[in-house]
Symmetry: C2
Subunit: 449 residues, 2 copies
């Protein structure tokens, strides 16, 4: 069995902690069994392992999320990068092609596809075995997971089932009365979890791409229809079956629903007066948040901004924050993270960017070059190595190095390395980073420091 | 006539914007007639000028406030620095001594003493003329200002008056019924505004200090009784008179009362959802604050922290913030201002401090030296000059200079100068600044840069 996790949706519904590069699934606001904070992605990965599922895991996502996934799941998963965002059908074909041509998976094997961020019990993952069995039984092209409904919701899709779990139809977002009737007839919510034999999907892929090898699918990605997997595959299948899951299943995409699942009233440097009622505070800043006499509030403070919202109003955040066009002020990277302290543009168009950069011990930035940016790096803690134009310099606390535009450079951390970087550029700084191969720097001798 | 403004009370009732070096009277949250933001201190100074009072103004304060006062009132006032904080009697004697021995004021002239931050109409200052006249009339040692009470408050002191405005007694904080009786008898609130002839107070000073010359009073300041002016002078006077002021007089020492006087619902980068009711937001940070569906809240975000408080609960802030022992993250200085981006202490005890410093055009820092701190300065905007150990260097954008411990240095701005300073010290950094005389640097030639 192979598992494909679809990691989508950059977005601002959990602003200021989620932004264009940090989707909600990467926020470490939940707790594992030992009380350590974990993200939705980490929770799902932990649950899959805990459920004892023997499967390789592939995450299909956009380039923007790769650093976050590597930072949170290390090398425990494979990552397939969508060349552009096109909807779930192309993303799943891409992942399937990767499994076939790179992982050499047996075409008879089962692939299970699910969103990366369901908030569920471990039992959810335990149904995967039943889905696999049913796929292998061979009487259904696609096997769906169906959630046992807890109330006649108007916002979900319903799967109608007949004898032996055969799917007899679908009903999208019925009104409450119709929903109740469907439930009485044994209908289940569609959780967006699909299982199928690898060869079944690759057969469909053949209709769109001449060569189903992974590199070719990447190259001709634009030829794959920009449609959902439901529309392009599920609705066109000859036979469908459903396996029920009768446990907790929640959408925690708003501050209101997320705060309900938080174990603590507050995370971070927070002081709450005793008269605070039903208030949750999440503070990622290094300055304290004090809440006095607040009621039904969620307060979230991060590098991108500060939200103070009535809990029920928090789901209406989008129009208020979608036009905030500041650059992301915090990014998690494969090698560590950075926080932006200041980003200024001056009257003559010049920009400056001051960042606090942390590079984890043993990790390295890309070896890279800026064409329009000069940079001053000052080490405030830790030890590492800086290579500039092939010259190696040891870095330790108090060292300052000026890297001029055009100079190839990169830093490796020996111990956790913290530094202040001040960049000055005379033109647009965004995108002014050309990544080079570290091997270019690898024969670097130790130059005069 | 001379005016002495008493600028006291560092404190945290307006935390996070007020702190140990930035008292509430320096927060620019009010508006002048042209809609420009001004502080309480600036408002009072503007009103004195507007009332057409021809008087020299002396501010008596602690050393910690000198930079803020110079920054906000420039050289329009004299400043008398209390050698230590000892209460109002010593502070007023010190200011009077300054007027006598440094300003050569005629001992017959009137001195009017008031707090630096009354929130009042201009008419308040227009009563000063009447107080002066009454002092010069000679039938009262001290002339007080009495506020016409607007309700039987239990929290103020009452001045009882007889014929011709002669004071017949005082009553501190009566219960409501007694207060009403006092008001019916023509009693007035004590506003803490005193007028007297300079020679009267200096006569009292003679009881405490052998030599009433200013330098001597400074030197022997500890000999002045640590008492209030009310207790030590007013209550012991032979005859007192009162001049009524029948206008607005408010204490705006809490977020609740201050927000009532704000012309805007928000100051700074703030987005308010339309369903916010009776909410005031003050944001001094460079990241946006978004408020959705909030009611009766004050939200204040500054370099020191973030407050979210029910308005009526905001006056109970003190116990929640008094133990926050972070260093001030923002300071206004005579020459400009700085913001702290990061202040970290590492496991081996070393500290680092990263600041954004603005030096106003034409202004200069003190020439100074650190014994335990190394500093890296990177200019992000503007032009100036740096002197290091007597060597002059021109500074402009992109320049980086390392100043090692023990090196005397100081910066002057030619144009507004913005720089990032990273300081690293192996020991306690607080207090590690020895101020030197700029003249030591003044024969500096231009050294090799």
């Amino acid at each position: 069995m192979n598992i494909v996790l679809l990691s989508g949706g950059s977005g601002k519904r959990l602003w200021p902690l989620s932004n264009d590069v940090r989707s909600k699934q990467f926020l470490k606001l939940l707790c594992d069994e030992d009380g350590n904070h974990e993200s939705m992605v980490q929770r799902v990965y932990r649950q899959i392992v805990h459920a004892g599922i023997d499967a390789d895991i592939v995450v299909a996502t956009s380039a923007a999320q790769v650093e976050s996934i590597r930072g949170q799941l290390r090398n425990d998963v494979d990552i397939v990068v969508e060349p552009e965002r096109r909807n779930t059908f192309p993303a799943i074909v891409l992942a399937a092609s990767y499994l076939e041509s790179r992982k050499m998976m047996n075409p008879e094997e089962t692939v299970i596809v699910l969103p990366v961020d369901p908030y569920v019990d471990v039992a959810y993952f335990e149904t995967f075995g039943k889905m696999d069995e049913r796929v292998q039984q061979g009487d259904a092209d696609i096997v769906l997971m169906g959630i046992t409904p807890s109330y006649p919701s108007e916002k979900y899709g319903y799967i109608l089932q007949g004898a032996e779990g055969k799917v007899t139809g679908f009903k999208e977002k019925p009104d409450e009365a119709s929903a109740q009737k469907l439930i009485d007839q044994g209908a289940l919510w569609n959780a967006g979890v699909f299982a199928f034999k690898l060869k079944y999907l690759m057969g469909i892929a053949d209709k769109y791409v001449k060569d189903r090898d992974f590199s070719s699918v990447v190259e001709h990605y634009a030829q794959l229809k920009k449609d959902s997997f439901d529309y392009e595959v599920v609705e066109k299948a000859n036979s469908l079956a459903v396996i029920p899951y009768d446990g907790s299943w929640k959408d925690i995409g708003t501050w209101n629903t997320l705060s309900e699942e938080m174990k603590e009233q507050s995370i971070g440097d927070v002081i709450m007066g005793e008269e605070c009622v039903n208030t949750h505070v999440i503070n990622e800043l290094s300055i304290p948040v004090v809440a006095l006499g607040t009621q039904n509030l969620v307060i979230a403070a991060g590098q991108d901004g500060i939200l103070v919202s009535d809990k029920h109003k928090s789901s209406y955040i989008k129009p208020y924050v979608e036009n905030i066009d500041k650059r992301p002020m915090y990014e998690e990277r494969r090698w560590g993270e950075y926080k932006v302290y200041d980003y200024s543009q001056y009257t003559d168009g010049t920009k400056s960017l001051t960042k606090h950069v942390t590079i984890n011990a043993g990790c390295a930035q890309d070896y890279h070059v800026h064409r329009f940016k000069d940079e001053v790096i000052t080490v405030v803690n830790g030890q590492g190595e800086l290579v500039v134009d092939g010259c190696l310099m040891k870095l330790s606390r108090g060292d300052t190095v000026s890297v001029r535009r055009g100079q190839k450079h990169g830093i490796r951390a020996i111990q956790d390395l913290q530094l202040i970087s001040v960049q000055i550029s005379e033109d647009s700084t965004e995108g002014d980073t050309e990544v080079l191969d570290w091997s270019w720097a690898s024969d670097s001798g130790s130059c005069q420091n």
